[in-house]
Subunit: 318 residues, 2 copies
């Protein structure tokens, strides 16, 4: 029996599962939240215990790993995590290969999720597709000729940091008007809060205020969608602006890369029809008329990184 071990270092959660080569069902599955104050060391310790629980004395034939942060795929070294301390230059592939003695492949979560959707989800049968996750950040993964395309230094697909409005607000990366700065959940929440803190406002944000009992620090990306669904005009405005930014980004990617399909995943994609319509409309307007593409929701949900890790491990076995 050829076993594949799939690991997901997700930043706020850790998950691991095993499956048989070619199967679409998990044999065993473990998941837990990262503790408060987690470090690379505690993450690795927790993951080791999940793995030994899963394996029950058996040996996998290959390991695939999804990591929530930039990874040097060639060496399998994590560059850093934006969520957990101590991940700078950790040779994750090397550590796992030493401990378990089997070929291990490590890649960042957007690339892995893209591969998962390609092999098992909304991208099946399409050999050129672009996956975008819109959540705490905006990341992209790109499948070309059936395999992840990582670019010269593993940095391809960074749709989150293409500039769509040079007059827009400043992003963490230092530039103005990046897709991530306008479309990610936390930044939409921040924009709502800053707007409501200003003395005189056009929009009252009534529904949004009531969701957080007027404690503006509690506003989240999800509340923006919830308030928008209740008709809150400020929330609608911010949500549409985020969807517009993502749509311009997708249209520009269509012009440059011309993939067959875009697949969107991540929490913000659950924001509802208004958001989806604006993304579709803006992407279509931004792309040249000769360029065909479809934009679809991801099919694998929260298990996308694990299924992607399975696909990654299988590629390593071929």
């Amino acid at each position: 029996m050829t076993l594949i071990l799939a690991l997901d270092f997700g930043g706020t959660k850790l998950a691991a599962a095993i499956t048989q080569l070619g199967s679409r069902q998990w044999l065993r599955y473990e998941r837990c939240l990262s503790p408060t104050g987690a470090t690379a060391k505690t993450d690795l310790e927790i993951m080791r215990s999940l793995i030994y629980n899963l394996l029950q004395g058996e040996t996998p034939s290959a390991i695939g790993v999804s990591f929530g942060g930039p990874v040097d795929f060639t060496t399998g070294t994590v560059r850093l995590s934006h969520h957990v301390l101590g991940w700078e230059n950790i040779p994750l592939k090397h550590l796992l290969e030493q401990e378990f003695g089997v070929p291990t492949s490590v890649d960042n979560d957007a690339n892995v999720a893209a591969l998962g959707e390609h092999r098992f989800g909304a991208g099946q049968g399409y050999d050129s597709l672009f996956y975008v996750t819109i959540s705490t950040g905006v990341g992209g993964g790109w499948i070309l000729n059936g395999k992840p395309w990582r670019g010269n230094a593993g940095m391809a697909g960074e749709i989150g940091h293409i500039v769509v409005n040079p007059a827009g607000p400043v992003c963490l990366c230092g530039k103005r008007g990046c897709v991530e700065r306008l479309a990610s959940g936390p930044y939409m929440a921040q924009d709502a809060k800053e707007y409501l803190l200003k003395p005189a406002n056009h929009f009252s944000g009534k529904q949004l205020r009531s969701l957080v009992n007027d404690n503006l620090d509690l506003i989240t990306g999800k509340m923006i969608s919830d308030a928008a669904a209740q008709g809150d005009e400020l929330a609608i405005n911010i949500l549409q602006n985020g969807a517009w930014a993502l749509g311009v980004g997708i249209g520009n990617v269509a012009n440059l890369i011309n993939p067959q399909r875009f697949i969107l995943g991540g929490s913000v994609t659950k924001a509802g029809e208004l958001w989806w319509q604006e993304v579709q409309k803006t992407a279509r307007e931004t792309a040249l008329p000769e360029i065909d593409f479809e934009i679809l929701p991801a099919a694998l949900g929260d298990d996308a990184p694990l299924w992607g890790a399975v696909a990654l491990a299988e590629l390593g076995l071929i």
Copy 2:
């Protein structure tokens, strides 16, 4: 002797040359301007006479063709020309294969020039590069793993129509603030003219006006660079804005595609140091700090499409 025939349908000029497989020198070379009122029919007739002059009774082993307009590479059918009438849906590959009985490959000029620079020019030894031509239009050609990447429908690489300033002026394509709308020669000339036609101006455009004896209709892209070199502030402003737009476009491409090298060709790249510095600076600021790339001038000059056509024909022979 294995002969390669290279053809260049350039819009305003026609050129053809033959070389031996593996050689870097032309055996024979023919070039002429398209007549005023040229059509697809006259272009094809002139090209046929150039070809028969070149061949002198010999038979080539393969034909490579660079066409100045969108081409369906798979079928070798020209979609249209923006410069010459009557090119809609002309099966150029089929016509040439019927007449000369040898394998023929046809692609658009940016893809072909990219391939030429990759094989024989500034991109030698780099298997992932992005070529940009900045001239009457702005086009892109993209080499991935040593071969042109054309995207799902041959539309990849359209850097000219990615939006860099959504509040900018309207482009021919219908969108606002495309790279081409801000960075191409004719559009820079148009912006200068429109500025000088306004009643009250901050910049006098003195040097630019004197280059055309106050006949604003005569302003060209080249004159913008010439006037800028003479210190004309309006010209400097427009040139810098064009270079900025191209720099944002290149930085965005770096974020998405992460190629090793960008190679810039076309008449606007002769605009001087000011232009190059602004392009380099803006591209560097727009790309994420982790992303490495270089931006270099094209090496093959006016013969890039012909040498690219040789490379294209050779790929067809392999």
